[in-house]
C-alpha cells in the first residue's frame, strides 16, 4: 500500500498532502485541520461528515481521499465565518437549531445543497432533504424552522440582487462564497490538525 501526494482543494485552499489509499476524505479533512467535518457513524447513516463535492452533498466517510482529488470540496467553514456567516448558518443560530452542535455542520451542508436546487422547499421536502442527517438533541423542529428561515432570507436577498442585476432567477451554482486566494500548504501540515 503506497502513500502518494494528493492535491485537495478545500474551501478554496489547495493542500498537497501525503495520503495512504485507504484514507477516507473525512479522515484526510480532519487531519488537515477541518475539524468542522464531524466523524459520527462512519457508515453513511448520520450525515455529520457531509461536505459539498463539486456542489453535491456527500458523506465524506464514504469517499476515499484519492477520489476527491481535483474536485472542489466545501465544508461548513467554507460557507461562512463567525464574522461573515452564511445566511444558512445565521438562520440555524437565530432559530436555536443548534443544541450540542455535532450534527450542525452536516445539516448546514445538506441544507445548502437542498436550497441550491430548490429555493422554496415545503416542510416535507425539507424533512426528506435532511433525511440523511441525524440529530439526537433537537427533535428536528428548530432545524426545519432554520431551513425555512434561511430559504426565505436567501430568496429575499437573491430577488433584491436580481432586481439590481436585472435577472429573474436566483444563482444555483453554489459558489457565492467569496473566492479565496489559492495557497499551497506543504506536506507536513497533514496530520497537524487538532482533534477537537
Amino acid at each position: 500500500m503506497e502513500t502518494r501526494t494528493v492535491t485537495l482543494d478545500v474551501n478554496g485552499r489547495t493542500h498537497d498532502a501525503a495520503i495512504a489509499p485507504n484514507t477516507t476524505l473525512l479522515e484526510a479533512l480532519r487531519a488537515l485541520g477541518y475539524t468542522d467535518v464531524k466523524n459520527g457513524c462512519e457508515k453513511g447513516d448520520c450525515g455529520a461528515c457531509a461536505v459539498l463535492l463539486n456542489g453535491r452533498a456527500v458523506n465524506s466517510c464514504l469517499v476515499l481521499a484519492w477520489q476527491a482529488e481535483g474536485q472542489e470540496i466545501v465544508t461548513n467553514r467554507g460557507l461562512g465565518t463567525i464574522e461573515h456567516p452564511h445566511p444558512i448558518q445565521e438562520a440555524f443560530a437565530d432559530t436555536g437549531a443548534v443544541q450540542c452542535g455535532f450534527c450542525t455542520s452536516g445539516m448546514i451542508i445538506a441544507t445548502k445543497a437542498m436550497l441550491n436546487r430548490n429555493p422554496d422547499p415545503t416542510e416535507d421536502e425539507i424533512r426528506e432533504g435532511l433525511s440523511g442527517n441525524l440529530c439526537r438533541c433537537t427533535g428536528y423542529g428548530q432545524i426545519v424552522e432554520a431551513v425555512r428561515l434561511a430559504a426565505e432570507r436567501l430568496r429575499r436577498s437573491s430577488s433584491s440582487l436580481s432586481s439590481l442585476r436585472g435577472e429573474g432567477t436566483p444563482r444555483k451554482d453554489g459558489h457565492e462564497h467569496a473566492p479565496v486566494e489559492r495557497v499551497r500548504v506543504s506536506d507536513d501540515e497533514f496530520g497537524a490538525g487538532d482533534n477537537s
Binding site: M1, N22, K43, L62, L64, R127, S131, G132, N133
Partner: protein, 293 residues
C-alpha cells in the same frame, strides 16, 4: 474503525481499467462505495486491491442509442433522478430512485453498484426487471449482454465473473410508453431500506389487452419477476377479479425471509396488497404513472 490496507488503482479510461482488471483479476471495482466501504470497514471483505471507476468518463454517460436507453455503470441515483430521458423512458425506475436511501447517499450510490451488490432489496432492480433491462459487462476484448433476471442469482451474488466489469445498464425504449405503478413499504418515510416493494407495468398491445408485468423486491433471494402472476393475466382485461387472483398468485411465488424489518408472513401478505394496489393503479386513468404523468 479505519479501513483495511489496500492498493488503489485509478484508471482514466475503460480500456485502461479492463487491462488492469485482466492483470489483477482479484481487484475489486469500487463504484459509489456506499456499500463496499462498509463491508471493508467491518472486514467482511479485505481485497488487496481496489479499482476506482470514478474517473472513467464513459461510465458516467446516459445516452439513447438506437432506441435503447444506455445508462453507464457509474451514473449515480441522483443523476438518474435529474435526467429527463430517464424520467421519460423509465418512469418507474425514476420513481424508485426517489425512495432510494437519502440525498447524501443518492449523490454517491450508482446504478451499477446497486446491481453488482445484488441485495434482495436493491431499489433499482424491480423497475429494471419490469423494463427488460440488460446488463452490459466487459472484459479485455469481450463484451456481453445478460438479461437482468439472469444476472442476479442470489443475495449479493451475480453472474459477473472475476476480470469482468459491469459497464452499462440498457433498457429498450418501447414505441408507446407503458403505464406503470410502484409501491415500497419501509419503516419510515425516508432513508429506509425496502421491507417489500412491488412494481407493475402495462405495455400497450396492438390488439387486445395490454401485456402486464409485475416485479417484487425484498421477498426472495433476488428481486424477481412474478412470472406466475403475470401468466394469470395473459390476454385478459385487468378486472377486479383478475387483479385479486394475480395478487394472490404473486404472494404465493415469493419466499421471503423474516428479519428485523418484518416477518415472512407479513411480507407475503404485503405482496398481495401491494400488487393489488399497483395493478389497480394501472387500470385507473388518473392512477399510477406513465402516460406522461
Amino acid at each position: 474503525m479505519t479501513l483495511p490496507a489496500f492498493d488503489l488503482l485509478q484508471p482514466e479510461t475503460l480500456g485502461e481499467a479492463l487491462k488492469l482488471l485482466e492483470a489483477t483479476p482479484a481487484a475489486v471495482p469500487i463504484a459509489g462505495g456506499t456499500c463496499l466501504l462498509l463491508d471493508l470497514r467491518e472486514r467482511k471483505r479485505t481485497p488487496g486491491t481496489l479499482l476506482d471507476l470514478s474517473r472513467i468518463e464513459e461510465l458516467h454517460r446516459i445516452e439513447v442509442i438506437d432506441d435503447v436507453l444506455v445508462m453507464g455503470a457509474m451514473v449515480t441515483i441522483a443523476e438518474l433522478l435529474d435526467n429527463p430521458r430517464v424520467e421519460a423512458h423509465a418512469g418507474v425506475l425514476h420513481e424508485a430512485c426517489r425512495t432510494f436511501a437519502a440525498p447524501l447517499v443518492r449523490n454517491r450510490a450508482t446504478i451499477g453498484g446497486n446491481l453488482v451488490h445484488a441485495s434482495p432489496a436493491a431499489d433499482t432492480a424491480p423497475p429494471l426487471l419490469l423494463l427488460d433491462a440488460e446488463i452490459e459487462t466487459q472484459a479485455e476484448g469481450r463484451k456481453r449482454l445478460t438479461p437482468l433476471d439472469r444476472f442476479l442469482v442470489g443475495p449479493c451474488e451475480t453472474t459477473l465473473r472475476p476480470g469482468h466489469l459491469l459497464t452499462a445498464v440498457r433498457i429498450p425504449i418501447p414505441e408507446r410508453p407503458p403505464r406503470w405503478a410502484y409501491e415500497k413499504i419501509r419503516l419510515r418515510k425516508a432513508d429506509a431500506i425496502s421491507v417489500v416493494s412491488a412494481a407493475a407495468l402495462a405495455a400497450p398491445s396492438e390488439d387486445g389487452p395490454p401485456e402486464v408485468r409485475i416485479a417484487l423486491g425484498a421477498v426472495a433471494p433476488t428481486p424477481i419477476r412474478a412470472w406466475d402472476a403475470e401468466e394469470t393475466l395473459k390476454g385478459r382485461e385487468l378486472t377486479a377479479g383478475a387483479i385479486a387472483v394475480a395478487a394472490k398468485v404473486a404472494a404465493e411465488e415469493t419466499c421471503p425471509i423474516a428479519d428485523v424489518r418484518g416477518s415472512a408472513a407479513y411480507r407475503r401478505r404485503e405482496v398481495e396488497i401491494l400488487v393489488r394496489h399497483c395493478l389497480s393503479d394501472l387500470m385507473t386513468p388518473s392512477g399510477g404513472g406513465g402516460d406522461g404523468n
